[in-house]
C-alpha cells in the first residue's frame, strides 16, 4: 500500500476574498484600461457571474467602483496640482476629455475647471487616508452614476 501523501493545508476563502482581489486591481490599475474580463479573471470567475457577485458584495458595480476611484484621483489632482484638465483626464485613466468632463460634471456637479476654481488647494479631507475618503465620498444610490462612453466593466 502506498504511503499516504501529505499535502500542506491550504486555507479556503469565500468568494468575497477573490472579488476583493479584483477590486484591488481597480485600485492599483485604474490609470490603465480595465475591462470586465480582466477583473473577472483576477477573481477567478466568469464575467457575468463576476458583475453580479461584485455588486451583491460591495453594493456597486465594478465600473462604478472604477469611476469612483478615477474621479477621486481627478479631484485630488485638480485641487493640488497645476496639471491641465486634459492631463488630469489621461492621468486617471480616461481616454476622452469630453467623456471625462461629462462624467465629472454628472458625479461632482460642476465641470473640472469650475471644481478647480472653487476648490483650489487641499481641503480638510485631504489628510484622511484614501480608502476612508473614497468610501465616505461615495454617493448614495448609484443608479445615476455612469460614464457617457460604453462601459467596459459594468
Amino acid at each position: 500500500m502506498a504511503p499516504a501523501r501529505h499535502h500542506p493545508r491550504v486555507a479556503t476563502y469565500p468568494l468575497a476574498r477573490h472579488l476583493l482581489r479584483a477590486r484591488d486591481l481597480v485600485d492599483s490599475g485604474y490609470t490603465e484600461p480595465l475591462d470586465l474580463e480582466a477583473l473577472a479573471s483576477a477573481a477567478h470567475v466568469s464575467p457575468r457571474h463576476f458583475s453580479r457577485e461584485f455588486r451583491r458584495t460591495f453594493g456597486e458595480t465594478p465600473y462604478q467602483y472604477l469611476l469612483t476611484r478615477r474621479l477621486e484621483r481627478a479631484r485630488h489632482l485638480l485641487r493640488t496640482t497645476d496639471l491641465q484638465v486634459a492631463e488630469v483626464c489621461l492621468a486617471v485613466g480616461f481616454s476622452s476629455v469630453g467623456s471625462f468632463t461629462t462624467t465629472f460634471r454628472r458625479h461632482v456637479g460642476v465641470s473640472p475647471t469650475s471644481y478647480r476654481r472653487e476648490n483650489n488647494g487641499p481641503s480638510a479631507a485631504d489628510r484622511i487616508p484614501l480608502c476612508f475618503a473614497m468610501a465616505w465620498a461615495r454617493r448614495p444610490g448609484v443608479g445615476a452614476f455612469r460614464e457617457d462612453t460604453t462601459p467596459g466593466a459594468d
Binding site: Y13, S123, A124
Partner: protein, 146 residues
C-alpha cells in the same frame, strides 16, 4: 492614566498563513505563539514590528467555543470583503518599501501614490485585511480648508 495601545486584534482565516505573511512578507517578528491545551487548543499568536516592541498584533482566528459557527462565518466574511481593514503602517520610504515587498512576493493592492498627507500604498494580508503603507509628510492643518 492609560499609557499606550499595546495589543490590537486582527481577524484571520488561517493563523499559519497569517503568521507566514506577517513575518516572511512584512518583516514582523513573532512575539508569542502558544497553543493552550487548557483552553481547548486556543492559539495565542502575536506579532509586531521589530522596532516597535510594545505594539502587538493578535492574529486571531474566530471560532467555537468563543464564537459559534454563524458568528465565525460572519466575521470572516467581513474580513474577506475588506470591511475590517486594520490600520496604517508607517515607513520612511514608501516606494522603496513597496519595491522590497513586491520582491518578497507581496501583491500591492494599490501602488504608491502621492497624497496630501504623504505617499501611500496598500497591501492586504491573505485574509483580506488592508494595511495602508504611509510615508507621512508634515502638513499644516490650519492652512487647509474645512
Amino acid at each position: 492614566m492609560l499609557e499606550a495601545v499595546s495589543h490590537v486584534a486582527v481577524w484571520v482565516h488561517d493563523q499559519d498563513e497569517a503568521k507566514a505573511f506577517y513575518t516572511e512578507k512584512l518583516g514582523f517578528e513573532v512575539r508569542e505563539d502558544a497553543t493552550l491545551d487548557e483552553l481547548g487548543g486556543y492559539r495565542w499568536l502575536t506579532v509586531g514590528p521589530p522596532d516597535q516592541p510594545d505594539v502587538n498584533l493578535m492574529l486571531t482566528q474566530p471560532g467555537p467555543p468563543a464564537f459559534d459557527e454563524d458568528t465565525k462565518n460572519e466575521i470572516l466574511a467581513l474580513v474577506a470583503k475588506g470591511a475590517l481593514g486594520p490600520g496604517i503602517l508607517r515607513t520612511e520610504d514608501c516606494r522603496k518599501t513597496c519595491k522590497e515587498l513586491e520582491e518578497r512576493g507581496v501583491e500591492l493592492a494599490s501602488q504608491p501614490e502621492e497624497r496630501f498627507y504623504g505617499i501611500d500604498a496598500t497591501v492586504r494580508d491573505p485574509s483580506g485585511n488592508m494595511w495602508r503603507i504611509v510615508q507621512p509628510i508634515e502638513y499644516d492643518l490650519e492652512a487647509m480648508k474645512s
